[in-house]
């Protein structure tokens, strides 16, 4: 790509042999202040767009979590904002680690990570803590806990990237089938928690990666048919009452039980709608202040944005996400190394899909699911998981491993 100095063979060799990776920059490795821990040329190669947008989204999230933690009954403020700051600090550190470790190395170890992840999921399923009617949590202390299901995404992305990197046409039966199976195992474990939405959201990521890796369209069509055929038996046999209720609420809003299941969406639309063009101002939204919307600091944070910053604020948040997703895809286009490409695409999808599902839910355009808004909603696990993803993309962009992908020569 333009703007990047061609690397000499010596540089490539050095790059591949360095423990923390990274090619030497124009100043050479020794010139950097932190020596071998920071790659030379870091400042030129770091994708500042991604960093900046991520920072902005975290900031916005922090502001609105504070706004949404006011408890009207007692007139006090819940401690979500402070805890979120702690999570943000932690996630910065995780981001640094993710960037520092060479992603190819991580991808090589992805099978181990995958197995660890399955272990964590199984542990959660049998020994996790019950909260809100499901076992999704491993509580570390009373207030701090982890949701292992959130960390499935980066691991799966690494794993699939490793699997699909040299497949020009990973068709049925082998590669694509393996992809589906690799996704299905954690998905089923998550669905059993039960957390159907998180489980289902793994599939778009996997399919996007397979798609970009060159899978035949025909294969997707077959998969789609199989998927559609399985919907009915799943709806009837596998779903919980409340899940069916939610889907019904979405499909037949008229018959919705507005006091119960439909209440949140109903209230969310009213909140967003009452925001108008410019909103009521941060911390000034009456419905927000009066606690009309349960779960507004997590799943429904976008409604608070809608009420307090109005249409403009919603456009800003959505626009930032759009830039972030496109930047990740841009990395994929810039990079020649196939594994890195796939990681970038996977992370882009893992951001885009929850953003869409969450925002569409708050405006009544999608069924109610427990999917938080990435980076903005309160919640440590989700934040860490997405930061790992973003770290991977930054990592990919940083390395610029000069491997030529096969597709470049393909017809």
């Amino acid at each position: 790509m333009k703007g990047w100095p061609r690397q000499s063979d010596a540089e490539v060799v050095r790059h591949l042999s360095s423990p923390f990776g990274g090619a030497a920059g124009p100043w050479g490795r020794e010139a950097t202040p932190l020596g071998r821990f920071l790659m030379p040329g870091l400042w030129q190669r770091l994708d500042f767009v991604i960093l900046l947008v991520t920072g902005l989204l975290l900031l916005i999230g922090r502001l609105f979590i504070e706004s949404a933690s006011y408890l009207s009954l007692t007139g006090t403020v819940a401690g979500y904002a402070t805890r979120q700051v702690q999570w943000i600090v932690l996630s910065m550190f995780v981001l640094f680690v993710t960037v520092a470790v060479r992603y190819t190395r991580a991808a090589q170890w992805s099978v181990v990570l995958y197995l660890l992840m399955l272990g964590a999921l199984l542990y959660t399923l049998y020994l996790g803590d019950v909260r809100k009617n499901s076992r999704r949590w491993i509580m570390l202390t009373d207030t701090y806990g982890m949701q292992p299901s959130e960390f499935v995404k980066p691991v799966l992305i690494l794993c699939l990237a490793q699997l699909l990197r040299f497949r020009r046409r990973p068709g049925v039966p082998r590669s694509l089938l393996l992809t589906v199976v690799l996704t299905l195992i954690p998905a089923l474990l998550i669905a059993a928690q039960p957390d159907l939405a998180t489980a289902l959201l793994l599939f778009p990521i996997a399919f996007a990666m397979a798609f970009v890796a060159g899978a035949r369209i025909r294969s997707f069509v077959i998969l789609a048919v199989v998927g559609l055929l399985s919907i009915l038996p799943i709806y009837v046999f596998a779903l919980h009452d409340y899940q069916r209720e939610r889907i019904k609420t979405f499909v037949f809003p008229g018959a919705a039980d507005k006091a119960g299941e439909g209440y949140q969406v109903d209230q969310s639309i009213i909140m967003i709608g009452s925001g108008g063009v410019f909103g009521k101002g941060l911390g000034e939204g009456p419905q927000n202040r009066l606690n009309y919307l349960p779960e507004r600091h997590t799943d429904f944070i976008f409604s608070v944005v809608g009420e307090e910053w109005g249409f403009v604020g919603c456009l800003l948040v959505l626009g930032l996400f759009w830039v972030l997703v496109l930047a990740c895809l841009g990395v994929a286009l810039r990079i020649r190394e196939p594994c890195g490409r796939l990681i970038a695409v996977g992370v882009a999808t893992s951001l885009a899909i929850p953003v869409f599902v969450n925002t569409a839910m708050t405006v009544g355009a999608a069924p109610t699911t427990g999917v938080p808004l990435p980076l903005v909603s309160y919640g440590g696990s989700s934040l860490l998981s997405h930061m790992v993803g973003i770290g991977l993309v930054l990592n990919v962009n940083l390395r610029k491993i000069p491997v030529i992908a096969r597709g470049d020569f393909g017809p």
């Binding site: 009954l73 209440y263 639309i269 419905q287 919603c314 895809l329 882009a348 885009a352 925002t359 405006v363």
Partner: protein, 840 residues
């Protein structure tokens, strides 16, 4: 290919985001104002602030009718299905059926059965599991025993007999509420203070929070501490479970303080039951216990409200039916009656209703005593609230008929007013209303009546409705999701109605009632110079509370105690000889008689005939003065014959007979028939009857009093008036009218009336002590019926100050024995008082 596929993913991401943006634009830009309005509607609820009705005062400013603080028991329908009183009953149903493994009665979700008897008979049998069938039966049995033992009627004795300090201050009160209450009970505050404090108290306690409920030591939270998450997860009922899960997740195994802290932030009443239950099985049991406990509380409230428990339950049922009617009208089809209706769908209709009107309250009972308010708050049943509303208190007996009474505004009246408003609004021309329509509309809006308002139904309450009625205010209250009031965003203070000061002197009024002593009749005292009515007593008078209780009975009583005899005509009221004043004036003015001209009296007009027109005595040749003094009938028969019925009627009308006097009360006009106006054929006898005020002349005592006041005032007729001040503003002096009577005639009449007291029919009765003048009268009602007797006069004759008119129905005996003593007493009361007041 890689590049194009990545671009495809970018494009589809853009597309998805675009969908959300379009939807956002639709919601926020296009429908924004609509949702804004909806949001405001959801969070801001309007409440009426009822205005007091003005007081009615006597001329010295002591109140005759006034609003006293009162409280109504209300029921918030939205809570009924959420596990309060009725909820407990209805839950039992649901649980019974679940226990049996059948879901047949989920329909009961919508219609909790309130008859506990039927609960037993229909439901005990459906309890499938033997182990708690017995328990349930036991509890229900004890419940039923206690219900039926109350059948005889619960009185408020147990509440009222305690001294004020011993009334337990509810655990559910806030500190400030408790303090106010204690001060109030200690100080024995006046009406006004009680009122203000009562309202403040209510504001503080309006909705006891969950935490306040929990402070009640009667409820234990200990079972809660033993709850394990496994038990919660095992709860089969989804509503139970979802409520419990979030509650219990943080609670299990923690200390009591923390439990309380968490619970205090919860408000859902059904939490309570579940939270305290611990496990499902225990929950079932608790529901049953709750049923018993609720019944106890209900009984307490019923006692506080002063009604029987059965009446109370009927009241609740009524409320429910009203809500159901509303729901039905919303659904627009008979979903609720359809036995095949999908229970879920029905439940949804209800929930929708409760979502839209979560805090709508329906009145259960009116006028519960102040102590009852405490009981309600102590019981802390979430569905029940107390709303303040004034009750009209009327000073009993003395001025019952003048003050009148009030009643609730009817649906019809409300509809009429609203249709009139609609009609006026429809008159819009070129975007504006015509001035008159606008004025009327403003007035209608101003005095807008609400349901449950009281309006005057009789007496001054009715005639001065416009002045007495206050203007309601309102309060828009910001509420959070649970309906807890956060702040008042908009308020219009209610403005009380004007006080109306009457001209009545309560000293005279009560003296009049006293001397009338329950006999049917009336006493009127007019102030001659001003036309002010100092006393307008009608007997038998009533005690207001008695009237409230026995209204129907009284309304159909043949004695017609509800009629104001001073200005209404219950049945034929004939002026009798008092009408001779009119005859004499007419004769003199028309030149038919002079002072000296005589008629001959032989004791009867046609002696010897069966149907003779008799006189009181055998007067021989008699002139006007003596004829008046002795009340010679023959003189006036002959005079009347000479005048003719037309001229008599004409002069009668000049004195105000046949039309209303114009006092601020509902009154009758009576009539004087003449040959022309009589509906029946007119004979000579009819003219004779008219001449002595019989049969063809029907009057009110007030008209007779006005007649004499015209003589006393030298021919000036003043409209009698009852109202001295409206608010702070004095009413203009009543209209005057000059009756064209020559001075000579007036002088002669005044002398004749003095003669009556000095040497005539009212001689030697003590009236002369006041220098009074007057005329007695006895009217034969016909056949063997007792007479009506009259005395009308003024005092002192030299410079008249008051006119006294006494009228008694159904009397036996002469006027000197019946009415004249009453008149004397009244004059004594007036002059004695005046003298005493003037010199002392």
């Amino acid at each position: 290919m890689f590049r194009s596929r990545v671009v495809a993913i970018a494009a589809s991401t853009t597309l998805l985001f675009g969908v959300v943006v379009c939807r956002l634009a639709c919601v926020q830009l296009i429908r924004g104002p609509e949702f804004e309005a909806l949001a405001v509607k959801r969070r801001i609820g309007a409440e009426d602030l009822r205005a007091h009705r003005g007081r009615i005062l006597d001329r010295h400013g002591s109140p005759l009718a006034y609003d006293v603080p009162g409280f109504d028991l209300h029921c918030r329908v939205g809570y009924l299905i959420r596990g309060s009183v009725l909820g407990a009953v209805h839950w039992t149903h649901v649980l019974f059926d679940r226990a049996d493994g059948r879901e047949v009665a989920e329909r009961r979700f919508c219609r909790p059965d309130l008859e506990i008897e039927s609960l037993r008979s229909s439901d005990l049998e459906t309890i499938g599991k033997p182990d708690w069938k017995e328990e349930a039966r036991e509890i229900l049995r004890s419940l039923l025993v206690s219900v039926s033992s109350n059948g005889g009627g619960v009185r408020r004795a147990s509440v009222d007999s305690r001294p004020a300090d011993e009334i337990p201050l509810g655990e559910s009160l806030t500190d400030s509420g408790r303090r106010i209450l204690r001060e109030q009970l200690a100080s024995g505050a006046t009406v006004g203070e009680r009122w203000a404090d009562g309202v403040r108290l209510l504001a503080l306690m309006r909705r006891p929070t969950f935490g306040q409920i929990l402070e009640n030591p009667a409820l234990s939270v200990e079972p809660l501490l033993r709850v394990t998450s496994a038990e919660v997860a095992a709860i089969a009922d989804r509503t139970f479970r979802s409520e419990c899960v979030s509650l219990f997740a943080n609670l299990a195994g923690t200390d009591r303080d923390r439990v309380l802290a968490v619970l205090k932030t919860a408000t859902e009443p059904s939490f309570l039951l579940v939270a305290l239950a611990g496990s499902v099985n225990e929950a079932r049991q608790r529901v049953l216990e709750g049923l018993a406990r609720d019944a106890d509380r209900l009984r307490g409230i019923a006692v506080a409200a002063g009604v029987e428990l059965s009446t109370f339950l009927e009241g609740l049922d009524d409320v429910w039916l009203r809500a159901e009617t509303r729901v039905r009208s919303r659904v627009g089809r008979f979903l609720l009656e359809d036995p095949d209706a999908n229970p879920r769908e029905v439940a949804n209709v209800w929930r929708q209703y409760f979502r839209d009107y979560p805090f709508r309250s329906e009145r259960l009972f009116r006028g519960i005593p102040f102590e009852g308010v405490l009981t309600v708050f102590e019981s802390a049943l979430p569905g029940l609230t107390v709303e303040e509303r004034a009750h009209r208190e009327v000073r009993s007996r003395e001025a019952f008929h003048v003050v009148g009474w009030t009643g609730l505004v009817t649906r019809g009246e409300l509809d009429e007013m609203s249709s009139r408003r609609e009609e006026l609004r429809g008159l819009t021309v070129d975007g504006g209303l015509p001035l008159l329509a606008k004025l009327e509309l403003d007035r209608l809006e101003e005095g807008r009546l609400r349901q449950d308002d009281i309006v005057g139904r009789a007496g001054v309450e009715q005639r001065l409705e416009g002045a007495l009625r206050g203007r309601h205010g309102y309060q828009k209250v910001l509420r959070d999701r649970r309906g807890r009031p956060i702040e008042v965003v908009e308020e219009r203070k209610p403005s009380a109605g004007h006080d109306v000061t009457l001209t009545l002197d309560m000293g005279l009024q009560s003296r009049a009632i006293e001397v009338l002593d329950g006999r049917k009749g009336a006493v009127i005292i007019l102030e001659v110079a001003t036309g002010q009515v100092l006393c307008l007593a009608s007997s038998p008078s009533l005690v207001y509370s008695d009237f409230r209780e026995r209204y129907r009975e009284l309304a159909s009583d043949t004695d017609q105690p509800l009629i104001n005899r001073a200005c209404r005509i219950p049945k034929g009221v004939y002026p009798g000889s008092t009408f001779k004043v009119v005859l004499a004036t007419a004769g003199l003015e028309e030149g038919i008689i002079t002072e000296e001209s005589t008629f001959h009296c032989r004791g009867s007009l046609r002696p010897g005939q069966v149907h003779s027109f008799r006189c009181l005595g055998h007067h021989g040749d008699i002139a006007l003065r003596r004829a008046m003094a002795r009340s010679c009938n023959v003189y006036f028969y002959k005079l009347g014959e000479a005048l003719g019925s037309e001229r008599i009627a004409e002069w009668g009308r000049k004195f105000g007979f046949g039309s209303e006097c114009g006092i601020e009360l509902l009154e009758d006009g009576g009539y004087i028939h003449s040959k022309k106006t009589s509906p029946a054929p007119w004979g000579k006898g009819d003219t004779w009857h008219v001449s002595i005020g019989q049969k063809q002349v029907v009057v009110t005592p007030l008209q007779v009093a006005v007649m004499v006041s015209i003589i006393a005032q030298d021919g000036i007729s003043i409209r009698p008036t009852l109202v001295r001040k409206v608010g702070e503003e004095a009413t203009p002096p009543p209209e005057r009218r000059v009756v064209a009577i020559s001075d000579e005639t007036l002088r002669l009449l005044q002398e004749s009336l003095e003669e009556v007291v000095v040497s005539g029919t009212a001689a030697d009765t003590g009236l002369s002590a006041f220098g009074a003048a007057g005329k007695t009268g006895t009217a034969q009602v016909g056949g063997e019926l007792p007479d009506e007797t009259w005395f009308v006069g003024y005092a002192p004759a030299a410079s008249p100050r008051i006119v006294v008119c006494v009228f008694l129905e159904d009397t036996l005996g002469s006027t000197a024995e019946t009415v004249v003593p009453i008149a004397r007493e009244m004059m004594a009361a007036y002059f004695g008082e005046k003298e005493g007041g003037g010199e002392g």
